[in-house]
């Protein structure tokens, strides 16, 4: 496989390739996110396959993951970005891939990540007055089976 990805991160401070083999993963600092995503889209990653988050209470951060796919080269690329757990705010990618609007609503619903520039930031699955973010590891409510247990 070509090494375009190493060239891609060469000029970006704080960007690194993660050890995962497939799909290849790229960790970006928050300020570089939007610019890099625009460049990746221009490079042929025309499909935003999926967007998810992973909670990391020890590291006090939430990791966001985007899975990009190019229908030209068939390549998959995972882009990661760490946000502080207290006030997670990420830029919305809705302008680049319209599907991000709904994927981001899911992450907001379950992890409480806010997206700046999002046109319609509402909960996706739960009721509007639901309290808390269920997929965070410290989430508790009255009917959870094993409260607090990871």
């Amino acid at each position: 496989m070509s090494d375009w990805l190493e060239d891609f991160i060469a000029g970006k401070e704080g960007a690194e390739l993660l050890a995962d083999d497939r799909p290849r993963s790229l960790l970006l600092p928050l300020p570089a996110l939007i610019g890099s995503m625009q460049a990746l889209k221009a490079q042929g990653f025309d499909m935003l396959n999926d967007h998810m988050a992973v909670d990391n209470p020890e590291g006090e951060h939430i990791r966001l993951l985007w899975l990009l796919c190019s229908t030209e080269s068939g390549e998959l690329l995972r882009v990661c970005c760490d946000l502080p757990r207290q006030q997670p705010v990420a830029p919305s990618l809705n302008a680049l891939w319209p599907v991000a609007e709904w994927q981001e609503r899911e992450v907001y619903d379950l992890f409480g990540v806010l997206y700046s520039g999002h046109p319609d930031l509402r909960r996706l699955f739960l009721e509007d007055d639901w309290e808390g973010w269920p997929l965070r590891k410290d989430y508790e409510d009255s009917f959870i089976l094993e409260p607090g247990k990871p």
């Binding site: 993963s25 709904w102 509402r122």
Partner: protein
């Protein structure tokens, strides 16, 4: 500045239509509407009978499966995956199995992979047969429903013999298959395939050429290839829009790399193209099954101890495959325990659903039923 969050109530504003002077209004379609096949709720903003906006409201069957998965072993998660898209139960099993096998480094043999591929293709036929029947019913033709279910029933019984379940089937497991094929499996499948070959043509004669069906499908809900890609559509919906993106072809898994098949692609991406792509897929799957059923090699069907605990190394793993409705993906984030730290499903139906927000505005209320039928949505898979 903290981004602003909204509630559904904030969206329920109506206005006077531009130029016309008539008042817009909202109508709820669902969550208990026969054309939404489950509990999908669509809020329709209407001006007379013209759709101005469609707001899908989800969550009526949200079970928190991703949260439940964090407390299950990897073998148990396989059994949850078929509660998502119950018409692609085996494909979902297979995807979870693949991600676990790859993370754990479990190798399989040719027999296991062939049977998995055969089962996935049979299920594609089973799913598309049901879709065709229900599609006809949504358009107001009741006969296709009876024919579709009649032809599906025999296949369901064949699955039941081997697997033991009719709907939420569990057969594909990490390390192999739950058990070997039933002794009557091959002869019954051969007989069914022979019979079904004539049925697809019958479907074509019965519904495809029908003038009412044509009028309700052609040029309704057109979606260009770029729009479909941007909206995250996959499967027949994307291919109907002219993008030949089929994981069985572009990134083969199972034994698809040894098989010869055509990927049907539409032109305009309207409801008719989505219909036609699925009908052609049935023909392709039929030919694939006919090849596969004659070429099942000998060998074991389970290569690891069935009760063994699977412990995965640390890391984030991802696998995806082509279900009857599009790309189903599984993200697995492991911290080295026998249960995942985070488990995420990439749902094909959730992504296909959003096409409706693009294709519906400007159409009539009756058209939305044809559009939904063409998207072939399974609600439990969206809500998870």
């Amino acid at each position: 500045m903290t981004p602003k969050t909204l509630t559904l109530q904030d969206l329920l504003r109506t206005d006077f239509a531009p130029g016309g002077g008539t008042q817009e209004y909202f109508v709820n379609m669902g969550p208990q509407h026969p054309a939404t096949h489950g509990v999908l709720r669509l809020l329709l903003k209407l001006d007379g009978e013209t759709l101005r906006q469609v707001i899908p409201v989800l969550g009526y069957i949200h079970r928190g499966i991703e949260k439940i998965c964090e407390h299950q072993t990897y073998r148990q998660i396989v059994h949850l995956s078929d509660r998502l898209d119950y018409l692609s139960a085996l494909a979902n099993n297979w995807c979870v199995t693949r991600v676990v096998e790859r993370a754990a480094g479990i190798e399989t043999n040719e027999r296991i992979e062939t049977i998995r591929t055969l089962m996935a293709e049979l299920e594609r036929l089973q799913s598309h047969t049901l879709w065709w029947g229900v599609f006809g019913m949504d358009l107001g033709a009741f006969t296709p429903f009876l024919h579709g279910f009649r032809d599906r029933e025999e296949l369901t019984q064949i699955f039941e013999d081997t697997i033991g379940a009719r709907l939420t089937m569990n057969y594909i497991q990490p390390g192999g298959l739950l058990h070997d094929l039933h002794k009557d499996f091959a002869p019954r499948v051969r007989a069914w395939l022979k019979d079904f070959g004539t049925k697809v043509d019958e479907y074509d004669r019965m519904l495809s050429g029908n003038l009412i069906a044509q009028k309700r499908l052609v040029d309704i809900g057109a979606l260009s290839g770029d729009e479909a890609l941007g909206l995250g559509a996959t499967g027949p919906v994307l291919r109907a829009s002219g993008v030949p993106w089929d994981l069985r072809r572009v990134r083969p898994y199972g034994v698809y790399d040894q098989l010869d098949f055509v990927v049907p692609v539409g032109e305009k991406g309207d409801c008719w193209d989505r219909y036609w792509v699925r009908i052609e897929e049935m023909r392709q799957s039929l030919a694939l099954c006919e090849t596969l059923i004659e070429n099942i090699p000998e060998g074991k069907t389970m290569l690891v101890k069935p009760a063994a605990k699977i412990r995965l190394p640390e890391g984030t793993f991802y696998e995806e495959l082509e279900t009857p409705r599009g790309i189903f993906g599984v993200h697995l984030h492991s911290r080295g325990k026998d249960m995942p730290w985070r488990f995420h499903f990439r749902s094909p139906n959730l992504h296909n659903l959003w096409c409706i927000t693009k294709i519906a505005p400007g159409a009539r209320v009756a058209d939305i039923v044809a559009m939904l039928a063409g998207l072939d949505l399974i609600v439990p898979d969206m809500d998870r």
